[in-house]
Amino acid sequence: MKLDPRVRLLIIILITSLAVLAKDIAYLAIVFAAAALVDIIMKLDIMGAIKRLRHFLWLILFIAFVQSLTVKGGTTLISIKSVNLLTTKGIGFAIEFVLRMGIILFAGLIAASSDGREMTDGLLKMGLPYEFAFMSAITLRFLPVFSEEFRSRMNAMAMRGIDIKKMPIGKKIKIYGYLIAPAISGCIIKSRELALAMSSRGFGAHKKRTMLRELKLTAKDWVVIVISVLLTAGYLAFMYIYGGLFSL
């Protein structure tokens, strides 16, 4: 379903706000399911995203596992002598963490589904100063640049006969530490080039800039806005009544 970028931004804000405000697993699970449903209705490639982010998903599971071991409370499920290894509270925290990250990923998928600079244009149309709107766009632009910088340095090390894959984990972490500083400095140099290219093309020439893309809210967009806001408000009221909200 093709929606105006402002509507997609609104849905992202609503979903992520609920992920922050919902207090326990049951309430979070409903938000998780709703976020997944939104992605399915919008025909977004969830499986493709899971494949692309598999390393990150493993990291989330690893953090959840560590969290389940470190948070103590509730009933002890596994213990060795007097040390409580796994408790119900620990497992609860881990599941909540996984659900929250899942909701954020579903919301991120909505943002990633935009065509070109649509989201930036949406932010501009919502009245955000263009310096800030472009800042967010450029930040995303730099993620692959950083990854490329890092990979090229890894390749340079491999060319010198250092096989990082075969190294013990401790040494590997040390090597990654050495690589991060030059990768960041490479990014800074590239960011300067990019800033010059932007300045040379009149960035900042006027307080307001015009837009090639015409953004108009259609009847479908308005229907989605009303339904999204009503559902979110209803769910917040439900959580408030039944104590599912984090006290602010």
């Binding site: 600079r117 766009a137 080039e193 990019l194 093309r201 009149g202 020439a205 015009t210 893309r213």
Partner: protein, 223 residues
């Protein structure tokens, strides 16, 4: 319009890169700048484009005029109407996901109306032969195509002078010829070109060549 550089000097960390550089270039002219690495060619381009900034280590002096008006007296929009610059690395000049958006970036900054933006995109894409790429994603383009998009993006500002900083150095041979033709046609239609290059084939299209010599005098010779 005439570009005039008067007594331009640049030093990094106390080391003189070039000093008292004075020259001028006319509309319709292709002026080439060559010199060894570190002779300040790219920095000179930034000075001419009004983008060179003084820093703790960098000292710049001298003036650049376009049509008798000094660069610092111009606003950004006025500067863009006078001079556009294309850099060496095509990868770091494009920041929009789509080619059309990249080409719209400068006219949007200049707050031009939507119809004018569309017209400028069409015109610049036609000049650079990239109309077929307008719907493409910028990260899927080859190096040569990216450079053509960068040139087209600069041309959407309709500058009187185009500064080309080694723009053929990272692209393949057939695209180099296309780029040279774009520069030749730009000059034929009344624009001025300042071109930095080491490539003898690039220098062949220049009417004049200035050779920078690190820290020493420069040489201005007509062909």
């Amino acid at each position: 319009m005439r570009l005039t550089a008067k007594n331009l000097s640049l030093s990094f960390g106390g080391q003189v890169i070039f000093k008292n550089l004075s020259f001028s270039a006319e509309s319709g002219e292709i002026l080439a700048i060559k010199g060894p690495n570190g002779s300040g060619k790219s920095s000179l381009c930034l000075c001419l484009a009004g983008l060179m900034e003084e820093g703790d280590e960098t000292a710049v002096s001298g003036e650049v005029y376009y049509g008798g008006k000094a660069l610092p007296e111009m606003g950004i929009a006025e500067r863009c109407a006078c001079v556009g610059i294309v850099f060496q690395n095509p990868d770091m000049q494009l920041f929009s996901p789509l080619v059309t958006e990249e080409l719209a970036f400068a006219p949007e900054n200049l707050a031009l109306p939507r119809d004018e933006i569309k017209a400028r995109i069409e015109e610049a894409a036609g000049i650079c032969g990239i109309k077929h790429l307008l719907g493409a994603k910028t990260n899927r383009l080859s190096g040569g195509e990216k450079q053509l998009v960068a040139i087209a993006s600069t041309l959407t500002m309709k500058p009187k002078f185009l500064i080309a900083d080694e723009i053929t150095s990272r692209i393949d041979t057939d695209k180099k010829d296309i780029v040279r033709n774009i520069l030749i046609n730009f000059a034929k239609e009344g624009g001025g070109v300042i071109m930095v290059s080491h490539n003898p084939k690039d220098l062949e299209i220049a009417h004049r060549v200035i050779e920078l010599k690190r820290g020493k005098d420069y040489e201005d010779r007509s062909k």
